[in-house]
Symmetry: C2
Subunit: 326 residues, 2 copies
């Protein structure tokens, strides 16, 4: 898998440039501070995964237009809005290698900038003059906020199951990625079969992306990740590696893990113990195995399309989603 990012990037370079420009151009607040706060996070090296997916999804259905790039911003704005609110909610410290917006500008104005971006996204969706797109976008936003709330309710709850976890990540991450792919198909006036295939692809890709994120929280180092390793656990978020290890462990080891999880101020040594137990019970490998299944399902969904560079890129993105180091 090495070098997949290096192979992928040149293939989407031009699209990424257009997306960057559109993100700048469509962010038009009357208040300079809004632009500053939104930009603080949005122009700090995000992957532009969601805008890219809508562009590529439209393209694989034979459609190419500058409008697609404009509408692709919807998904990045929405994504940024949720991250801004998340960081306030989680009391996060770093994101993308920088202090979070709420640490720099304060929580109040960060919350409001999130609201603005949410509204901006929906306003741009409205400019598509397409009711189906507007419904996808507004429906997504409902789903995401509910996913976040479920996650919040379940914080620190060691009885959190794999099914509940899948439900949460499908809502909070999957929805946007699936929505981007689906919207690309709608813009392209694709056939139902194509729209379904891309929705399927996006659904699986979204799951891969979030599971990989949750794995990285245990396996990356802070420099690579741009945020603190182990942050999920410190915030009481139980993710697939831990859910699996808890399920598989001896009563005694389960007890040790639960004690660590129960204390958000666990020490570095305690975190090491937890990592060792994750390894003993194969938590990371299990999560990786599950994600690999979704990578394959994502690629399978693409098979209805004729072979093309765009199809290859989409397939590579599924591999990249799991193999990435940040």
């Amino acid at each position: 898998m090495t070098g997949i990012k290096e192979r992928l990037l040149p293939l989407v370079e031009k699209d990424l440039e257009k997306i960057e420009a559109a993100l700048e151009e469509n962010l038009t607040p009357h208040v300079e501070l809004v632009k500053e706060i939104a930009g603080h996070l949005m122009f700090a090296g995000g992957k532009r995964l969601r805008p890219l997916l809508i562009v590529l999804s439209a393209r694989i259905c034979g459609y190419e237009d500058n409008f697609v790039t404009k509408f692709s911003t919807i998904f990045e704005y929405l994504h940024t809005a949720t991250l801004l609110h998340d960081d306030v909610i989680d009391g996060a410290v770093m994101r993308r290698g920088k202090p979070v917006a709420n640490a720099v500008f304060g929580a109040p104005v960060t919350i409001l900038t999130g609201d603005y971006l949410l509204a901006r996204a929906l306003r741009i969706a409205a400019e598509s003059d397409s009711i189906p797109i507007i419904k996808v976008v507004s429906g997504m936003t409902e789903d995401i906020s509910e996913g976040e709330i479920i996650q919040l309710i379940k914080k620190g709850d060691v009885s959190f199951t794999e099914d509940e976890y899948m439900n949460v990540i499908r809502r909070k991450t999957g929805v946007l990625i699936r929505g981007a792919c689906k919207t690309g198909a709608i813009l392209a006036k694709a056939s139902t079969e194509q729209e379904d295939a891309l929705t399927q692809y996006g659904d699986n890709l979204g799951l891969v992306f979030q599971i990989a994120d949750d794995i990285l929280d245990y396996t990356a180092n802070t420099g690579e990740l741009g945020k603190t390793v182990g942050a999920d656990l410190r915030e009481g978020k139980l993710t697939l590696p831990v859910i699996h290890a808890l399920r598989e462990s001896s009563p005694q080891d389960r007890n040790r893990m639960e004690t660590i999880i129960a204390n958000p101020d666990f020490t570095k040594d305690e975190f090491e113990i937890l990592l060792r137990l994750l390894s003993t019970y194969g938590g990371i490998e299990y999560a990786r195995r599950i994600a690999t299944g979704y990578v394959q399902a994502a690629k399978r969904a693409l098979e209805i399309f004729e072979p093309s560079e765009t199809r290859d890129i989409l397939a590579m993105m599924a591999d990249y989603a799991l193999s990435r180091r940040s």
Copy 2:
């Protein structure tokens, strides 16, 4: 003006009942807690001003339909979303005679419930299948968040001018009230003249409503108001009565006021001093005079419509907006 509420209520009783039912029916989260938090505020005796305005605006243009009631919920959900976020941002304590949601349920889930309501409002707007309505609703949401941000930036700034104040209240309150009236006209497929007249009416009514709110913050008692009197000033929000008094005062009195405003923990005695200075410089009367001008403008805008009970009700609402005690 006495008794205007008592005369008004029976005339809109049936509409209010339908609106209550629609608010219950269209709030359909998958998560029980969302309903509980949204309901904590939404079913605590709000005035339903915004939903009522869309129903009445459609009616005065000759349109009556259950859909109107459904779409009227958009405005109450949006309004509730902004109040939930406001209370988090302001660290408010009470609203409508109850502890604020963030005090009961915590800020994180309150922020997310606000997000959910914002999204729900836009989802319902999308169900109108009307692009103009969707544009009004998503545009409003952008405007509101920007209005709130300007207000936040200007907190405690004694150089805040009347023009800036008008700009803020037009965005943060006016937009929703104007939007409700305009949406009623759009649903009714009213003529441009009628739509403009109702937009004009709503614009003026919104200003009256917010100025009256800001007056009440100095003149009501806490029991009537359902929240702490003087809260605006404690949060550093400079409103029309204070802006006027600061502008008119002697350098010495201005200095005294500025000192009190600069300290959010001012004592009851200091607040009394400030109230006396407001009175000396006619801050409350000035605000009331300005608001009275907007009441008249709101009523004038209605003159293009034939006399009818609906027109009378709308006119009464303009009077009520200023004369109300809570």
